[in-house]
């Protein structure tokens, strides 16, 4: 057991957890933010993508201990109060989600991708989403959403 402190959506969270606690379990079980999901056990599906110091990472694949002192943003921290982040809004307007389970990871991946590449092409979006699996949408509307989100984010 050991104490871990990190900033989660702007709030300092300090928890006493087992040393082998994964970051995803720290977020879901210890802090109780369940918007970030677990869809596989091999770091493939991307339902658990969060931002760690501005970089999108799969929270199922790192220890909470490794995130000590970092600043983390999850899907719950993306909107500005009641106002959706432009990428969230774009997913809504373009029907970029169905069951919603992969959506948090998709949106977090998309935000980072577009932040790094404002004029992102369809091809780059498709390649950039390789680490996020969706079973519902066939990706068509996710790609449209990311394009629209990029435009809203100033691309």
């Amino acid at each position: 057991m050991g104490e871990i402190s990190l900033k989660l959506n702007g709030k300092l969270e300090t928890k006493d957890v087992a040393d082998n606690t994964l970051l995803i379990d720290f977020i879901r079980e210890h802090v109780g933010l369940t918007g970030t999901h677990v869809g596989c056990d091999t770091s493939q599906c991307g339902a658990c993508v969060i931002h760690l110091d501005g970089v999108s990472v799969k929270a199922c694949t790192m220890l909470a201990k490794q995130a000590e002192g970092s600043e983390i943003v999850t899907i719950e921290g993306l909107a500005d109060g009641d106002e959706l982040h432009p990428m969230q809004q774009a997913f809504h307007e373009n029907h970029g989600l169905q069951c919603g389970f992969c959506t948090p990871g998709m949106v977090m991946s998309a935000v980072e991708m577009v932040t790094k590449n404002k004029n992102i092409s369809e091809d780059e979006i498709r390649k950039g989403l390789e680490g996020n699996i969706c079973r519902c949408t066939g990706y068509h509307n996710i790609v449209q959403s990311v394009k629209a989100g990029a435009a809203k984010m100033g691309g």
Partner: protein, 794 residues
Amino acid sequence: MTEVTKIDGIGSSVRRTEDKKFLTGKGRYTDDINRPGQVQAYFLRSDVAHAEIKSIDTKAAQSAPGVVGVFTGSDIAADKVGGPICGWVVPCRDGSSTKEPPHPLLAQGKVRFVGDAVAVVVAETMEQAKSAAELIDVDYNELTPVVDFVNADEGAQIHEEVPNNCYFDWELGDESATNKAIESAAKVVKLSVRNNRLVPNAMEPRSALAEYDSLDESYTLHTTSQNPHLTRLVLAAFMFAIPESKLRVIAPDVGGGFGSKIYVYIEEAVCVWASKKIGRPVKWTADRTQAFLTDCHGRDHVNDVQLALDENNKIIGLRVDTVCNLGAYLSAFSVVVPTILHGTLLSGQYDIPAIYTNVKGMATNTVNVDAYRGAGRPEATYLLERTMETAAKEVGMDPAEFRRINFIPKDAFPYQTQVALQYDIGDYEPHLDKAMEMIDYSNFEKRRAEAAKRGMYRGIGMSSYIEACGLAPSAVVGALGGRVGQWESASVRVNPTGTISVFTGSHSHGQGHATTFAQIVADKLGIPMENVEVIHGDTDKTPFGMGSYGSRSLASGGSAISKAVDKIINKSKKIAAHLLEASEDDIDFKDGKFVVGGTDKEKAFGEIALAAYVPHNYPLETLEPGLEENAFYDPTNFVFPSGTHIAEVEIDPATGVVEVVDWAACDDFGNLVNPMIVEGQVHGGIAQGIGQALLEDAHYDENGQLLTASYMDYCMPRADDLPSFKVGYTNTPCTHNDLGVKGCGEAGAIASPPALINAVIDALSPLGVTDMSMPATPQKVWKAIQESQSVAAE
């Protein structure tokens, strides 16, 4: 049908009301829910495919840290808890019925597939439960596993009750007429195809959280289900023998189903049982490996097809002999999928005077096989549309024209097929024409030639499919061996202020019912959609309903809502007539207002609602107060969506990689309530079909080990595997439901695999390639190219 005039009414692409919670991380899936005092369940699963259990020693696990209980099959047997049941059986050719072996919640004496649950460990944490499970010692006497389902009749017997490992041997159609047609044919086209085994892979793994309340001796189960009421019925009536009222089943937000969350699985039942035994809430959530091993798989057929043609290339007969793999135990709908939902679709869009099919359902030491998006209809469409394309090429006709001359003509509806179904309506040439136009079919050869200059093989392939969905007329279901009704329910509650609460028996796990159903109600009542709330997924709140699968939610569930709203309008007219001192016959309802015909006297819908709940001026002597109506809608027929999908591919001979370069889908779903949602359903279905055709394959080795049990090994379609899709529609409204709707959820997955494989074969046809099995992986395609070239060199 209501005119499409309002912004949020029927026919409008309203943005989904359910989106915001999912986009902000506030969705509430089963694993997101925790209860005070909760403990975790972990299932110890067999790592061998077929074995007798000589002994199980759980002593060390019992006393491991954090463990609160370890249970095996003998504990379940001691409490006389039943197992999952089969919801639909069929008669066999020899007059016997489907063989139904028991399926114990935890293995009793024998394990029958890798993943079969042997014991459950319940502990304070999942980590403790997993660690303790490692201390359980199971002594197996291994038996020869049966994996090859085609020859399963020669393998070791898996169940005492199932001789030759054959659950059923079923037939449909006129065998002698069909054989006669084949014998007298000018040409018989023969094809053998395999429909590869798939894993549904809803992104949310299955999960269950059960809690027992000792005060009123009742249970609450949160679970990942497509049909919470059926889950409650099966658990209460067939497993625990308790009144339904003592079990509340809640399917909260559910992250995709695709068929795999229809059935009651053993884990849910064990959690319910253990919650009472232990006296604390018990939770179980599958990891992805367990999902691969234990979720019901889909497809897994081989089909031998003979298509008889006359001298004018008209089809005169079709014979299909099928063997399918149903796995270790019979799952709820595993029998109906390859029989009723498969055999009855073999006429496709074609006028075929003689059809016969025989289906053998085999037991193997693999996990159960049951419905997966399309469920039987993709298998029927695949064999038929592959054969149609093969036949066209063999007789030297354009595949489109060959289909066209064999289509059921539009003036032939209602059309009685030779395989039981009667299609109420359809018109097939328009969607063929439109799809061809969308993909610029007439200029394809130019594109093929241009690709060839780049050293690429370009191909085009089509599939004209039909499906039967909107399950289903209950009397027909019963006559065909179904053990359930297939109506759907709705309760429409008008609140005193005129807002509406709609309670539906169907369940949304991605389909957007909260939006679509609200649109129907808003449209019919002429009120804003924001005033309508849709409630589903909780047996304590919603009327008994059959849930969502088989593209039934709108055709059956939407029709029930429509009927309940009609009752609301009828009662409201009576109230309005009283308030307006007019005859009920003189009251017109339009745009949310009740008007005395030819006058300016009117009452708004909200005023009627208030009067119903504050009945101070109200015809109490003839009319009950309140405004709430139920409807149970039992359809009079299936609905029959149809369409044509055309795929265009390019193949790189250096790698064998098939790139899907274009896709045109033109579907007839009848009237559309929310075209945006429908389009999303089509996209998702096509993607799953492309996955089946190019990428996905659940593969067991000869020992019954699932080699593709993770996303590292099972190739899921990703964004860069797929193109954008062109989607279009034609419309022949369904004749037998008020909304004129059919169903759109499965069409893409039904239509797309044969279109894509036909395109791959077409691309390689210059090399003499005439067949390709699914999935058409780069290796398989590359080998086909190499082999054809070496044949050419000889």
